[in-house]
Every structure is written in structure tokens, then in C-alpha cells.
């Protein structure tokens, strides 16, 4: 079942079936907030956004999946802890997890609450606790892209600095010293905070990937930096930042390349 909830400003059922090319699923859980934003970002990135529903096991043949931000199930118990048991997640774990032996496992991006779901589902290492200052924080955040080998980051240049909004309450990334060392050694830190550490994350980690590089989690929000006028500030003007768009063009072109 796909969600009937319309995009703001576009009361057509969904932006899907408009473009050819990569079909990218955006999952809506109860309490998901940034699903419309993620779908818009996919569309602007040249892909086709397909709405997926938490209660539906089927991924409807999509080529990649985004778990968007929000407060699934009110973040009750722990952020992502309940969403991790949704039917759609069972399929996602099978398609994207370590037991998937295909040469091209499903690319998955978890943003904010989606990242929290991916750690709860053990598709990604570590977990998220309350920010060290114990407050929700919304700000423009500079990140360094340190791993450009994933489908979601292929079009960035190595160590590129990007600005995207961050907004979270439970965004402090923690993991064991041993696992931390392993992640660092294997180059699995995908995004790192630059400047003041906004929430106390270990090694300023903002985003990581799994061993195979198909699953990426990221605390800040690239889908809020895809359209000039509505993103973070940048040198060219207020709210003009569109650095996040490269995440979505990356996956679309990676999938196109993969199919050729």
C-alpha cells in the first residue's frame, strides 16, 4: 500500500511515476516527518520516488530505499527502537543486510531517525543517545565527506565540505572503542562534523556505512539542502545551499551505472 498523503503544494497523490530511471522507495512510518522532503529530493535528483508503507512487507521492486527523518512511534522507548520491528524492516534487513549475498545489495540511506532505525536493526554499527547538551538543536552544519565509494556519496569529491541542516535530540553517535577503531580503520566514516561538535558524537561521526558499503546512515539532513531558497545559508545567499542534492544524484547515477 502506498501512502495517499499528498506533498505540500502538490496534491497529486505522490511525485512518483513522473521520471524514468532509478525507483527509490521512501518509507513512511507513523510519526515520520521528512518523507515528503526525501521524495522531493529524489525527484530533484532525477529519480522516481516511490512511497513505501511501514506495515507493508513489500518493497515494490524499488532500486534503493530511504528511511527518512522524524519521530517514528513518537521515539517512544528509544528512537528507532519500535520502527525497527515494522514489517517493511524485515524485508529491508533481508535485502540489505549481511546475509544478502548478491553482488549488488540494496542501497539504503537512513537519515536522522532512519539512521537510528538502522543502528537498532544492526544494519549499521553503534547507536544514538541524547545530545550531550540534552537539547534539540536545529542549525546549518558543515560536514566532511570522507567516503565517496558508497552509492549515496559517489559524486562527492574526497574530503569535500558540504553544508546541510541538522536537527535532532538523540544525535550523539556512540559505539565501543573497539568498534570505533574498526570503523575508522576500514574507512567507514562517511560524514564527519566540521567545526564545533554539535552533539558529542564519538570522533565527530555524523554518518557511517556498513562493511559492504550499501547501507549508509547520516544524522543531518541532505534532503533539506536540495533547492535554492529553502536550504541552509551559503556564500551565495540566504538559504541557497544545495549541497545535499549530490546524495540523491549520486544514488540515481550509481543505479543507472549499475544497470548498464
Amino acid at each position: 500500500m502506498s501512502t495517499e498523503s499528498p506533498l505540500i503544494g502538490s496534491f497529486s497523490a505522490s511525485p512518483a511515476q513522473q521520471l524514468d530511471g532509478a525507483r527509490i522507495g521512501v518509507v513512511t512510518f507513523p510519526g515520520t516527518l521528512d518523507d515528503r522532503d526525501a521524495a522531493r529530493a529524489v525527484t530533484l535528483g532525477g529519480g522516481t520516488a516511490v512511497s513505501l508503507w511501514h506495515g507493508d512487507e513489500s518493497l515494490h521492486g524499488v532500486d534503493a530505499v530511504i528511511l527518512p527523518g522524524g519521530f517514528s512511534y513518537g521515539d517512544y522507548l528509544r528512537a528507532g527502537a519500535l520502527a525497527r520491528f515494522a514489517p517493511v524492516m524485515n524485508t529491508l534487513i533481508k535485502e540489505a543486510g549481511a546475509q544478502q549475498t548478491s553482488s549488488s545489495p540494496l542501497p539504503v540511506l537512513g537519515i536522522c531517525n532512519g539512521f537510528q532505525m538502522l543502528t537498532e536493526a544492526h544494519l549499521l554499527p553503534g547507536s544514538m543517545i541524547n545530545n550531550d547538551h540534552l537539547k534539540f538543536i536545529c542549525k546549518d552544519q558543515v560536514l566532511r565527506v570522507e567516503n565517496t565509494s558508497t552509492a549515496w556519496t559517489a559524486q562527492f569529491t574526497a574530503d569535500e565540505l558540504i553544508a546541510v541542516p541538522m536537527k535532532n535530540q538523540e544525535g550523539q553517535y556512540v559505539t565501543s572503542a573497539q568498534e570505533l577503531e574498526q570503523i575508522e580503520t576500514e574507512g567507514r566514516v562517511v560524514f564527519r562534523y566540521v567545526g564545533d561538535d554539535p552533539n558529542g558524537s564519538r570522533n565527530r561521526i555524523a554518518g557511517v556505512t556498513n562493511e559492504r558499503g550499501n547501507v549508509v546512515g547520516l544524522m543531518p539532513h541532505p534532503e533539506h539542502a536540495v533547492e535554492a531558497g529553502y536550504g541552509p545559508d551559503d556564500a551565495t545567499g540566504m538559504r541557497n545551499g544545495t549541497d545535499g542534492l549530490t546524495v540523491f544524484t549520486s544514488v540515481v547515477s550509481s543505479l543507472a551505472g549499475g544497470q548498464q
Binding site: 498523503s5 502538490s10 547538551h133 534539540f136 536545529c138 536537527k167 529553502y230 540566504m238
Partner: protein, 795 residues
């Protein structure tokens, strides 16, 4: 107890395992026992009101009826003290003001036609007392309540704003209230996916015992999705959905539990409601799906007075009556009495009227979103609201007498005896008015002092706890003059909103102060480039039983309604909050005025700060400056409040608005900021602080043309002024426009992106002063974090 088999809950069985232990006071009992005393006084009713209920019913009310009348006839539901004055908002609406109005005052929120088939609904409300008692939940449920008002019109909520008033920034209680209010607004609003696009924060010891937490929500819809709160169509079914009903928010209703035989029930129920934003989020999505599929005939949110309000308003706005079986209400606390169930203000609930044909489809939407619901009854043709408890009638009333025919009072009012002395006490003649800064050094220091005062200081410690990005349609947000939201992604059609209110002005002159609140809000919206269309107001005052307060109220309403007529922007709804006083000390009169304006294309919006790429752009001051320091922020620094507020000139305000809107639409200007608190000094400082871009200006001509001294030029709060920055290539076109409209414009200087400083020259000793933006930013931005803890530092 029997359950109505037709009314099973949507998810799981009701958990009414304990048989309620109370006697039921039926309509028959009431007729048979006319002498039984009911606790009307404890429920807040006056003797004449209780008598009048008896006359309406022709018998004594039942306990449940008394509960309903007591909450619906309370000040905040019945507007009994304010109604006679509020009529002016309707009476002064001209046909021209009505042309874009789809729904006016009286519904859950007004609706304005935005064009292209779009409509916008917005409303501002207060949640003052709950936020003082329990800051987090009070502020959170304030957001929840106003958002449900917007949903019940058929709209998707798209943004919220919060005008806040706290006591002294260094008072211990402010440190209890502010962090709780801020995290409550964030905790609830962020979880709903609604960007917070603005508001205000004011510190003033006059609010020490009565902080104000107002909340605005705005929603958008297609014209055909408009829904109204009425129960029509005999045989249609009435359904309650969302959260279960509990004992929270009952307040005085616990008095009715004295009818209980059992003393073991939960005794200490909070008078403040507890919010669950997740429940609200799924309620929003499920309601929008109901609207999209055209499954409801009428809908009403449950806010103040809960089921009493929803049933009586739906029934009295419809054409017939309503019959409800109250035992079908899903409860969190099975010991609630019927009266308590009727009065409960449990959050995240809605009531709808659904045709029998649509019932199954309605249930499917509920189950898809895991929302609980129960069918309560049906619409009848009896013109009576009949409520049964387990088959026995406990309420049988004309719903209109509950919802609309409450008491109306003409409270006595009189101009306070001290008002003349207050107005005679001008700042110039006061001790603080002596030895005003006159040299370059003193003027520069005064600017820094002003910008480092709590009210002018950076508020991002607060606003950074709110999500301003979600939805991807926020084109402007705090600290810009207005919040701007795109409505239509293809055309860029959108809205700009601002909330304003200056209680210092209103205290000095309530009539002018209310007009100044509207003028500033109107000016802010126009400064951002939007065409002002409609107004919503939240009128925060002390006790209406105090003739001095009632005078402030009546003057403010008269002033605001006159000004709305002159600016041709109708009031579409709002809220009155009275009794904001502690220990006999009322708050200063605080009308907060929200103005909503329209953009053809929000990409044309004008930001307030000088842009980084705008080096060399010309800076102009629009409007003239008079010696108007009474009630100003500078006078506040010197602990003075007296005199008369700045002059109101609404015709000029309209012209200035047209200039700013045209300049935005034609792409002439790249930044614009209105002049209000702190005058020109604050405007220049804020425009530089926004992006760290400096300026070089001169006030020589201002002083010469307007006949004012340099201090006045910088700190006077004369109205109807704005500062704009524009490329030199646009200067001629721009000044041609201001000249053609006969509006004063002066070139002050240029944007200087390289200097990193704010340099002002003028006819004063030393001839110019400069303020480094970095140093100013340091003191400006540390005021609030230094008191409440920097978000970057571990607590």
C-alpha cells in the same frame, strides 16, 4: 453495565474492567428532586448563571448538565466579558475586506482565499496559565490545541509561531518557566513536522507571575477541502477518535466526584493536560486522509471543555439535534464520572459526523493509522442534545443554550485615575532622560548596550531548539521580519506571517498600542514582500472584573478594530485571555496581533540582513523620525515607562507597505528591515549581525531634515519606517517610486562587506563611531546562553 454492540472501539476492547462507583443523576432525577443542591459555585458559576440554567431547562440541571454549562459558560469558552466589545471586529468589516474571506470569525479558524484554488487558515491562541503551572506540558499542549483548530477546518497545518512573554531574565522563576516552555514547544512542534517560523520573546518583570505563551498555527487547503464544524444530516453518525479520555485537564470538575460513593479513585488529577505529539501527528495524517477521501460531513476538535464543547457546538451549528451514548467513550481512567468525561480536556481527540455509508471507509482510515475511535451516537431532528449514560438520559438540553446563549456581561470600565499622570511622565523629563549620549563614544556604547539587553539580544538559543526546515517550504524564519512558507511548489504561491505586540505602548495608551501592534505586524509582513490580507489576534489582559483592566481591553479592541478597517485587513479569528493577574497585579495589556500576507512567488521574499555579496549597495531610510522615546527600548534600559507611545499613521503605513511590496516584486531591493523596538540603531545593527556584513552610514541628513538630535535619530521608535538596501543600478527607479508616492526616503550610506564593522557618522562630537560586528555579536549572542546554558556546552 451494557455496551452498545454497535459501538465497539476501533482497536481492542474498552478496558472498563472496574464498574464505576457513582450514582447517576438523570434528567428524571433532576425533575423529581428539585431541591437537591449542586456545587455550582465550586464549578465557577455565579448565582445568576445557575438560576438562568434552571430557567432555560425548566428544572434544576443534572450533575452532567451542570458540568457542561459550567465549562461552556466559563470566560474562555463563552467570551462573556469580551463579547460586547469583540462585536466591533465584525461590525467594522467592509465589503471590500470580505472579498477574500471564505470563513470569518466564529468558526475554529478563519479562512482566506489565497488564489489559484488555494485557501489559508491561521489562528493565534493563548496557553498562558497552564504554561505557568507546568511549563513543558502547558506550552506543548498549546501547540497541540491550535494545530487541531487548523485541521478541523480541513487544512494541512504547515507552520507554527510562538509569541512569548517572560518575567525578568534574571528572576529564578524565569529559569523554571523559560526552559520548560521552549522545550515544550520544540518537543511537541518538532514531532509534528511543523516548521517553527517565528514569534517573539520579551522579558519584562511585569510578566513575572503571568508569563504569556501564545501559539499560532497556519494551514493550507484546496477550496474544496474546506470543512466546518456542524452536525447535519439526520441519521448521520457521531464518532470520537484519537486519544482516550482521561482525567487530565478537568480542573473544577473534580468537585463533581463528591457524588462518588468510593473514595479510592485517583484524587490528584492534574489541571494541566498532558500532550502526546505522536498521537497528534497520526491524528493529523488520518484527518487529512479523511478529508481527501471526503469521508466526514462535519468535524470539530476537542479543546477547552472537551466533549461538552464538541457535542454542543456541532449540534447547535447543524440543523437538528444529536443523541450520544456516553458510555461508548473510550476511557483511560474507568472511574471517571459522566460529568468528568464531559469536561475532560484530554488532548489529541477529534469528533466527526459521518454518513452511515462512509462508516466502513472511516474505520479503514482509522485502522490504517492505528487511531482508536468509538461511535458515540447520531444526528437527530429533535433540536435537542441528548446524552445517555447506559441508556438513561443524563443530559437533555437545547445545544444552542450551552454553546452560544451563555451569559453576556457589560463589565464596568473606566479610565484608570493614574493614566493622566502616567502619560504626563515623559522619558525626556525623567531622570533617565538627562545626559543622554551625545558624543561618538557614548552613542556607540549605547548601541552596544541596547543590543546586549535581554529584549534585543540574539534569540537563537531558543529558536535553534525548533525545527525550521521540515517540509522544505520555509523561505524565511526567525530572525527575519516575517516567517514565509511556500504553498504551491510549482508557482511559488505562498504566505508571510508576523506576530507583534508591544505592551509598553499599550500600557501607555491601549487604543494606540493595539493599533501599533497591528501596524508593526502589517509592516513586517510588507517588509518581507507579502501583501497583508488578514489578521488574527490574541488579547491577553488582566481581570475583566477590574474596571481599569476592562478599560484597557475596550480601548484596545476599539483601536485594533478601527485600525483593521483603515488598513483593510479583517480579523478572521483569535482568542481572548483574561484573568492574567497574580496577587491583584494584572499584566500590562498585551494584544498580540498576527498578520498574514500573500506572495505570488515566495522566491521574491526580501530578507532582513545585508547580503554577503551586496558590497557597495545603497542603504535608504524610509519615513521620518520624530522625538518619540516614551515606551522605547532605550527608556527601558533606563527603567522608565511613561509618556505617550509613538504616533500612529495608518495611511502612511499603507503607502510604505506598497513601496516595500512593489520593490520586492520588481526585484529592486535585496534586503529590508522594519524599524520598531530600538529604532534605527537596532535596525542597522540587526541587518549587519544577520550575515556579518557591515555598513557605512550617516545620520546627518536625518537630523537636518527631521530636526532631531543624533541620539533621537538613532533611538527614537517613530513608526512607519524601514531600512532597505539596493543595488546602485536600482536607485533611480526606487527613488522615483518613493517620490511619486510622496513618501520620504533618504540615502544613509552603503553596505560594506569588507570592513566587518558598523560605522555611523553624524553631527555629534567625534563625528563618527564604529562598532566591530564580531565584538557586538559576542555580547549580543551571549545574553541568553549565559543565563540558560549554551546548547553547545554539556549541561
Amino acid at each position: 453495565m451494557t455496551q452498545n454492540p454497535a459501538a465497539q472501539p476501533g482497536n481492542g476492547e474498552p478496558e472498563l474492567t472496574d464498574e464505576p462507583q457513582f450514582s447517576i443523576d438523570t434528567v428524571d432525577d433532576a425533575a423529581a428532586t428539585p431541591q437537591t443542591e449542586l456545587p455550582w459555585a465550586e464549578l465557577g458559576l455565579k448565582e445568576n448563571e445557575y438560576t438562568s440554567i434552571g430557567e432555560i431547562l425548566g428544572r434544576r440541571p443534572t450533575a452532567a448538565e451542570l458540568a457542561m454549562y459550567s465549562v461552556m459558560w466559563a470566560e474562555h469558552c463563552s467570551y462573556k466579558s469580551s463579547k460586547v466589545h469583540l462585536r466591533q471586529f465584525g461590525d467594522k468589516v467592509t465589503d471590500r475586506m470580505k472579498q477574500d474571506l471564505m470563513v470569518g470569525i466564529g468558526e475554529n479558524a478563519g479562512v482566506t482565499d489565497l488564489g489559484d484554488g488555494w485557501a489559508v487558515t491561521f489562528k493565534i491562541e493563548s496557553h498562558n496559565s497552564p504554561s505557568f503551572v507546568e511549563p513543558y506540558q502547558g506550552a506543548a499542549t498549546g501547540i497541540g490545541g491550535i494545530v487541531r483548530d487548523i485541521i478541523s477546518m480541513g487544512a494541512r497545518p504547515v507552520a507554527v509561531m510562538d509569541p512569548l512573554r517572560f518575567g525578568d531574565i534574571d528572576h529564578a522563576d524565569t529559569h523554571r518557566v523559560l526552559p520548560g516552555v521552549v522545550s515544550g514547544i520544540g518537543g511537541y512542534g518538532n514531532s509534528l513536522g511543523l516548521p517553527n517560523i517565528g514569534g517573539e520573546v520579551v522579558f519584562d518583570s511585569a510578566y513575572q507571575g503571568n508569563p504569556l505563551v501564545n501559539a499560532l498555527a497556519v494551514g493550507v487547503m484546496r477550496h474544496e477541502d474546506l470543512r466546518l464544524a456542524n452536525a447535519s444530516g439526520v441519521g448521520n453518525r457521531v464518532v470520537l477518535f484519537g486519544a482516550r479520555t482521561g482525567g487530565d485537564g478537568i480542573g473544577g470538575a473534580s468537585i463533581l466526584s463528591s457524588e462518588s460513593f468510593d473514595e479510592s479513585k485517583p484524587s490528584k488529577r492534574p489541571a494541566v493536560q498532558v500532550g502526546d505529539p505522536f498521537a497528534e501527528k497520526v491524528l493529523i495524517e488520518s484527518c487529512l486522509e479523511l478529508f481527501h477521501n471526503e469521508l466526514v460531513e462535519g468535524i470539530q476538535d476537542l479543546g477547552a471543555a472537551g466533549i461538552s464543547c464538541a457535542t454542543s457546538e456541532l449540534a447547535s451549528n447543524g440543523e437538528g439535534g444529536m443523541h450520544v451514548e456516553l458510555t461508548n467513550v473510550l476511557l483511560r481512567d474507568p472511574t471517571l464520572t459522566p460529568g468528568e468525561i464531559l469536561m475532560s480536556e484530554s488532548q489529541e481527540r477529534m469528533m466527526a459526523v459521518v454518513t452511515p455509508e462512509n462508516a466502513a471507509a472511516f474505520e479503514a482510515v482509522m485502522s490504517r493509522w492505528n487511531v482508536e475511535y468509538s461511535w458515540l451516537g447520531e444526528v437527530t431532528d429533535t433540536e435537542r442534545l441528548v446524552i445517555d449514560w447506559d441508556g438513561e438520559t443524563i443530559v437533555d438540553v437545547d445545544p444552542r443554550t450551552v454553546a452560544h446563549d451563555g451569559p453576556v456581561y457589560e463589565r464596568p470600565y473606566q479610565r484608570p485615575s493614574a493614566q493622566d499622570a502616567l502619560q504626563a511622565d515623559s522619558f525626556r523629563a525623567s531622570a533617565g532622560g538627562e545626559n543622554l549620549p551625545a558624543t561618538a563614544e557614548d552613542l556607540g556604547a549605547a548601541v552596544v548596550e541596547l543590543m546586549s539587553s535581554p529584549n534585543m539580544a540574539d534569540k537563537s538559543w531558543i529558536t535553534n531548539q525548533f525545527d525550521r526546515f521540515v517540509g522544505g517550504n520555509t523561505a524565511l524564519s526567525q530572525p527575519d521580519d516575517a516567517g514565509v512558507i511556500r504553498v504551491d511548489e510549482e508557482s511559488g504561491l505562498g504566505v508571510g506571517l508576523s506576530t507583534d505586540g508591544n505592551s509598553r505602548y499599550t500600557y501607555l495608551d491601549p487604543y494606540a498600542g493595539a493599533q501599533l501592534a497591528l501596524a508593526e505586524s502589517y509592516r513586517n509582513v510588507a517588509t518581507s514582500g507579502a501583501v497583508p490580507m488578514a489578521v488574527s489576534d490574541c488579547l491577553n489582559f488582566g481581570s475583566p472584573e477590574d474596571p481599569d483592566v476592562m478599560w484597557q481591553f475596550s480601548e484596545a479592541v476599539r483601536g485594533l478594530s478601527d485600525a483593521c478597517q483603515q488598513l483593510e485587513v479583517p480579523v478572521t479569528g483569535g482568542n481572548v485571555s483574561l484573568y492574567n493577574q497574580t496577587a491583584g497585579q494584572p499584566i500590562p495589556p498585551t494584544p498580540i496581533v498576527a498578520v498574514m500576507g500573500r506572495f505570488d512567488d515566495v522566491s521574491r521574499r526580501t530578507p532582513s540582513g545585508f547580503q554577503r555579496w551586496a558590497d557597495g549597495q545603497a542603504i535608504y531610510l524610509l519615513g521620518t523620525t520624530a522625538d518619540e522615546l516614551d515606551g522605547s527600548e532605550y527608556a527601558r534600559l533606563r527603567h522608565h515607562l511613561g509618556g505617550t507611545p509613538p504616533q500612529v499613521d495608518l495611511a502612511a503605513e499603507k503607502t510604505l507597505g506598497e513601496i516595500l511590496i512593489n520593490a520586492s516584486r520588481d526585484g529592486m531591493i535585496d534586503s529590508a528591515h522594519d524599524l520598531s523596538q530600538g529604532g534605527l540603531a537596532a535596525a542597522l545593527a540587526e541587518m549587519s549581525l544577520r550575515f556579518g556584513v557591515g555598513s557605512r552610514t550617516s545620520i546627518d541628513q536625518v537630523c537636518e531634515r527631521d530636526g532631531v538630535d543624533p541620539f533621537t535619530a538613532l533611538f527614537s521608535e517613530s513608526q512607519t519606517r524601514a531600512v532597505v538596501a539596493l543595488p546602485r543600478s536600482e536607485e533611480l527607479r526606487f527613488t522615483d517610486m518613493t517620490t511619486a508616492r510622496g513618501f520620504p526616503a533618504l540615502r544613509l550610506g552603503v553596505v560594506d562587506a569588507e570592513s566587518g564593522g558598523i560605522e555611523v557618522s553624524g553631527p555629534f562630537e567625534g563625528s563618527s563611531f564604529g562598532i566591530g560586528i564580531d565584538e557586538l555579536k559576542e555580547s549580543w549572542s551571549s545574553v541568553i546562553p549565559s543565563r540558560f546554558g549554551a546548547p553547545q556546552d554539556p549541561a
